[in-house]
């Protein structure tokens, strides 16, 4: 590897720009590819897959040199809207799973630092908070408040972003009403299909910690088995 290639990878990691290192395993020749880059349609697909699923991809080498594609992705981030009880185990479990967690809640009594040690808190209104966080395809957004005036602005920003996961806590009835509101706000059916509600895999969770497990499991599934 050329020193300047390594330097460029580290620079992309530093500025949170996803990049793929393509190595010809026969010659050792290397290229750096960003989303949309690639010499052929097959290569662009390999690059997109490596970035999206965050795994290395090796071509079989039957029709040309064997190429190894290694993604260097920005950190996974989870943005939790609502500093409610479930947010406490959710932020702990998500942190263990490798996510940088930010909890958004403009209600100061909820988003108290002593309730969430070591977690980034934002007291901005959810839409403003998500705009300033800058959602990308490595972000998951989960709303927990059940309150349309907090959840809905967050969802509207999330739906206009590339976030790989959007989920909402709340009953089926609440969720149906939420989807009707988003539809009225101009979102298409394809947008609404991105919203997981009620959020979490159906594993019979009862306690807040168990609900947090089911949410992180569903986020993991969306990340690894899209």
């Amino acid at each position: 590897m050329k020193a300047e290639t390594l330097e460029a990878i580290l620079a992309d990691i530093g500025r949170k720009r996803p990049v793929v290192l393509a190595t010809d395993l026969d010659s050792g020749a290397q290229r750096l590819l960003h989303g949309g880059d690639g010499e052929t349609e097959a290569e662009r697909a390999d690059v997109a897959r490596a970035l999206r699923v965050d795994i290395c991809v090796t071509t079989d080498g039957d029709s040309g040199p064997q190429i190894f594609y290694q993604p260097f992705n920005p950190p996974l981030r989870l943005i939790v809207v609502g500093a409610v009880h479930i947010a406490q185990p959710l932020s702990a479990i998500a942190t263990l799973a490798g996510y940088e967690v930010t909890i958004v809640d403009p209600r100061e009594s909820f988003a108290a630092a002593e309730r969430f040690p070591g977690v980034t808190l934002s007291l901005e209104w959810p839409d403003a908070a998500l705009e300033s966080i800058g959602l990308d395809q490595r972000c998951a957004v989960v709303t927990l408040t059940h309150d349309p005036k907090l959840d809905d602005p967050a969802l509207q920003v999330a739906l206009r972003s590339e976030a790989f996961f959007i989920g909402c806590l709340g009953s089926r009835k609440t969720h149906a009403a939420r989807l009707r509101r988003l539809s009225k706000a101009g979102f298409a059916d394809a947008d609404l299909e991105r919203v997981h509600g009620p959020v979490g895999l159906p594993i019979g969770s009862r306690s807040p910690a168990e609900i947090a497990v089911s949410v992180v499991a569903q986020v993991t599934q969306a990340l690894r088995k899209p």
């Binding site: 590897m1 020193a3 330097e7 580290l10 050792g28 290395c56 940088e100």
Partner: protein, 111 residues
């Protein structure tokens, strides 16, 4: 609590850059393919310095010694190569790894 994964891979790459900048010969080893159960996934790195120091892991301890030896040769030759290791049941038992894995490791000089 900081996120755990990837941090160490980043540290390995930074060490490679810093060692090179400090004037050492450096080689980078990367797991490029695995079959069966193998302890480290594709993309795992080990960086080796010309005095034999290394950082990172490509197998969880099983083949690091051999990779470091090969890496020193790659630094001298200036040409990359692909190493192949099968982890036998006996060896796997001896170092406490899952059985029967095979790994391909790409070793390249940092130039």
């Amino acid at each position: 609590m900081a996120p755990m994964p990837d941090q160490s891979e980043m540290e390995v790459l930074v060490a490679g850059r810093d060692w090179k900048a400090a004037g050492y010969g450096v080689a980078l080893a990367t797991v490029v393919k695995t079959w069966g159960s193998s302890p480290r996934p594709a993309g795992s790195h080990l960086v080796v310095r010309d005095d034999g120091s290394f950082l990172g892991s490509v197998s969880g301890g099983c083949v690091e010694g051999a990779v470091v030896e090969e890496a020193l040769g790659v630094m001298k030759a200036g040409v990359p190569k692909v190493l192949e290791f099968g982890i036998t049941h006996e060896e796997a038992w001896a170092v406490g790894l899952a059985c029967g894995g095979t790994v391909h490791i790409f070793v390249e000089p940092l130039q």
